[in-house]
């Protein structure tokens, strides 16, 4: 386990593993999360990726990573991690590979790969107790293909396949799938939610997870300027609003036991978060859709009512 204690932003490691110059969008929340996440992980990492926005990070012949990268396929990045982890283990065990060549195996996918097409492979890898990290960068839709709805898209959001119409004034009518709980139900050593706005919380969680062998799973809110419809400079601010409104709870579960790592003392109204994003604009214009906004607020309040007492 790392001896670094993260207390203030001054404690963020200076070493960069993800250098500037990627083809990802300006203001990409996923990029911010990966950069910080990698700092806490340290070196000797192989990233294992499923199809999504971050796939474009390493496009032949370039890579912005100082660590290794393996793009697999959309449904099976965790299985790709299994093959790499197992191969390293057996080669080291058989004396064919020097233990200094060992790597941390880290899956990074979007929410579509995590919650939809790759859920089976993820469940399999967690069930087998695979010693790996999974970082899901959740921008709440299929961003790379033009922001179509995923099962991680929140109710009330507009996406390219859930456009608000007079028949569907809410936009997306389906609830956001609770991936944290799906992961947690497997009772892995470590599951956490993180946000690019709460850097110390993130780094501490990564540091803590390093002491566990087995699946270490992270769900990161990843603001998406193009899909969410916000300025590129607003990403961290949006992520912070998601936490302060209680929409994105920061928590962890160690072998299934949940602890909230940050409880907003007074939650801001969800409206503050919704009204600054184009994907929720139909809830405010041409007329304010009070009932849907109230429903979103109610769901958040209900969640926290179970946390607080």
């Amino acid at each position: 386990m790392s001896i670094i204690k993260y207390k203030t932003l001054k404690d963020v490691p200076k070493e960069e593993f993800l250098v500037p110059g990627t083809p990802l969008c300006a203001g990409c929340g996923a990029l911010q999360v990966m950069r910080l996440f990698h700092k806490a992980l340290g070196g000797d990492v192989v990233w294992v990726n499923a199809a999504g926005c971050v796939t474009l990070m390493a496009t032949f012949p370039y890579t912005p990573l100082k660590s290794s990268w393996f793009y697999i396929a959309m449904p099976s990045a965790p299985a790709g991690a299994q093959g790499i982890r197992d191969a390293l283990d057996i080669l080291i065990k058989k004396g064919k590979l020097d233990p200094t060549e060992n790597l941390k195996v880290v899956v990074v996918t979007g929410d579509g790969a995590a919650s939809d097409i790759g859920l089976q492979a993820t469940s399999g890898a967690i069930h087998r107790g695979l010693d790996f990290f999974y970082l899901c960068v959740d921008n709440e839709a299929y961003g790379n293909t033009g922001f179509q709805a995923s099962s991680s898209s929140p109710m009330g959001s507009g996406t390219a396949t859930t456009k608000p119409t007079h028949l569907y004034p809410a936009g997306n009518v389906l609830p956001k799938k609770d991936l944290f709980e799906i992961w947690r139900s497997h009772r892995p050593p470590y599951v956490a939610t993180i946000s690019p706005s709460h850097v110390i919380d993130m780094l501490r969680k990564v540091e803590k997870s390093l002491s566990f062998k087995g699946p270490k799973l992270f769900l990161a809110l990843s603001p998406c300027p193009t899909g969410w419809g916000a300025e590129t400079s607003e990403s961290v601010k949006l992520a912070k609003l998601a936490v302060e409104t209680g929409i994105w709870p920061l928590k962890e579960a160690v072998y299934g036991e949940v602890t909230h790592t940050y409880i907003p003392s007074k939650r801001k109204p969800v409206e503050d978060y919704l009204k600054v994003q184009r994907r929720f604009a139909h809830l405010f214009k041409p007329v304010k859709n009070e009932s849907i906004i109230a429903e979103i607020q109610k769901q958040v309040d209900e969640y926290w009512s179970k946390v607080e007492h």
């Binding site: 032949f60 793009y71 590979l97 060992n102």
Partner: protein, 421 residues
């Protein structure tokens, strides 16, 4: 695992065993000292993974066995493990191969030289159990090398040869070894089990190219968004696959030296003076050879050509064997619906530009879903081909073999299904 009949050979350390096809390929994986076996059960492949898991659990094999949650994940893990530097063996069948299909192209594109045994089983729907080759031939264009086996000994030997060819740095492509479900997988034959020391000599340790290591970071599987780059990498794979022809010939020579068994990309059976040649592959070839014997006894100059190496396609061997023949009868145990057999057009293309090409190349569909091929059907196909040759005519479509007794059976079952109407 079922009991084996051990019988030591005479003097040369040879061991004869009665093995099923499943046992034989499991032995091949063991003798190849594979590092990693990701698995997922499907009939008729299961005996292979049951045996291997037991050997690993008993410590008889120094390998890691992992049961995955699907064939898609199984193929993914197999590919990334091979790219990380492990020698990987796995097996699947039919629907399983198709379920993981996109990974076949990925594994080949990663240039990850693992060996996959496909236990052939016809594809749903209708769902069934017995073999034809639509499953393995669906993988025809993926970049996997393909070895098709007729008997249990060949199944064992070709797994060893497949590793040697696949891992050669002039090739670096994965390989499928096909064994027919039931007909090979569950059929016990006498097998010469190679000595471990000889296999070790034949099969040196796998040396991966640019594996994933802490000391030398790599980026694998990255998108290439410039079309000429994509074409370049696909051509590289194609040329590597063509290299596999010579690499296979060299490996086969070494194999013959060590094990006294000879393997070429194709096998000729009574071909020298034949005017009509039946072209076949896999386990039904044994039935074809019996038919050739019977037709020979009746005075017909019939021979048989077995395709053993299907990818890379052994064009030169096929030309050598079939040029100057009067009729070629290509029996495809598969069907490309709306066209016909999958291999026949490949044979025809190989022969087209020859002055002395056969007068008739007759496409025949037989053995779908494990339907047997009777002597009478072989004779019929040969008669049809020769009649067309006499008439200087070509076939107007593939010959779909179906016997009268089968038609009666099917009719009675259709009647039953429709409530006797």
């Amino acid at each position: 695992m079922s009991k084996e009949c051990d019988k030591s050979g005479e003097g040369d350390g040879m061991v004869l065993k009665m093995l099923t096809g499943s046992q034989a390929v499991a032995w091949a994986a063991r003798l190849a000292r594979v590092d990693y076996i990701p698995a997922y059960p499907i009939t008729p492949q299961t005996e292979i993974i049951e045996i291997l898991s037991e050997w690993v659990r008993k410590g008889e094999m120094d390998a890691m066995f992992v049961q995955m949650e699907s064939e898609h994940s199984l193929l993914t893990a197999a590919g990334t493990a091979a790219a990380t530097g492990a020698r990987v063996f796995t097996a699947t069948s039919s629907q399983g191969l198709l379920y993981g299909f996109e990974m076949l192209y990925n594994i080949a594109g990663w240039r990850a030289p693992l060996v996959l045994v496909n236990v052939a089983r016809a594809l749903a729907a209708p769902i069934t159990l017995e073999p034809d080759h639509n499953d393995v031939l669906a993988a025809r264009d993926s970049g996997f090398l393909q070895f098709h086996t007729e008997n249990v000994q060949e199944a064992l030997d070709l797994v060893l040869l497949a590793y040697r060819v696949a891992e050669d740095h002039r090739v670096l492509l994965p390989a499928i070894v096909n064994i027919d479900g039931f007909h090979l997988s569950y059929t016990r034959e006498s097998v010469d089990l190679p000595e471990q020391s000889a296999v070790d000599e034949f099969l040196p340790e796998y040396k991966p190219v640019n594996p994933i290591r802490a000391s030398a970071p790599v980026a694998k599987g990255t998108p290439v968004l410039i079309p000429p780059l994509y074409s370049f990498f696909k051509y590289q794979m194609h040329m590597a696959s063509r290299n596999a022809l010579n690499v296979f010939m060299d490996a086969a020579k070494e194999f013959e030296r060590l094990f006294s068994r000879t393997y070429a990309p194709v096998e000729e059976y009574m071909l020298d003076d034949a005017d009509t040649v039946i072209v076949m592959s896999n386990s039904f070839t044994s039935i074809g050879k019996q038919a050739v014997n019977a037709m020979r006894e009746e005075g017909h100059k019939v021979g048989l050509l077995k395709i053993r190496l299907f990818r890379p396609f052994p064009t030169d061997d096929i030309i050598k064997s079939l040029r100057g023949k009067r009729c070629v009868v290509v029996i495809d145990q598969n069907i490309s619906v709306g066209k016909g057999g999958i291999t026949c057009p490949e044979i025809a293309e190989a022969l087209y530009h020859l002055e002395d090409r056969p007068k008739v190349i007759l496409p025949v569909i037989a053995g779908l879903g494990g339907k047997s091929i009777s002597l009478e059907e072989f004779k019929h196909a040969v008669r049809v081909a020769n009649r067309l040759a006499s008439l200087r005519a070509g076939p107007d479509g593939p010959l779909l073999l179906f016997r009268e007794d089968e038609a009666v059976l099917v009719e009675s079952l259709l009647k039953l299904a429709s409530g006797g109407q």
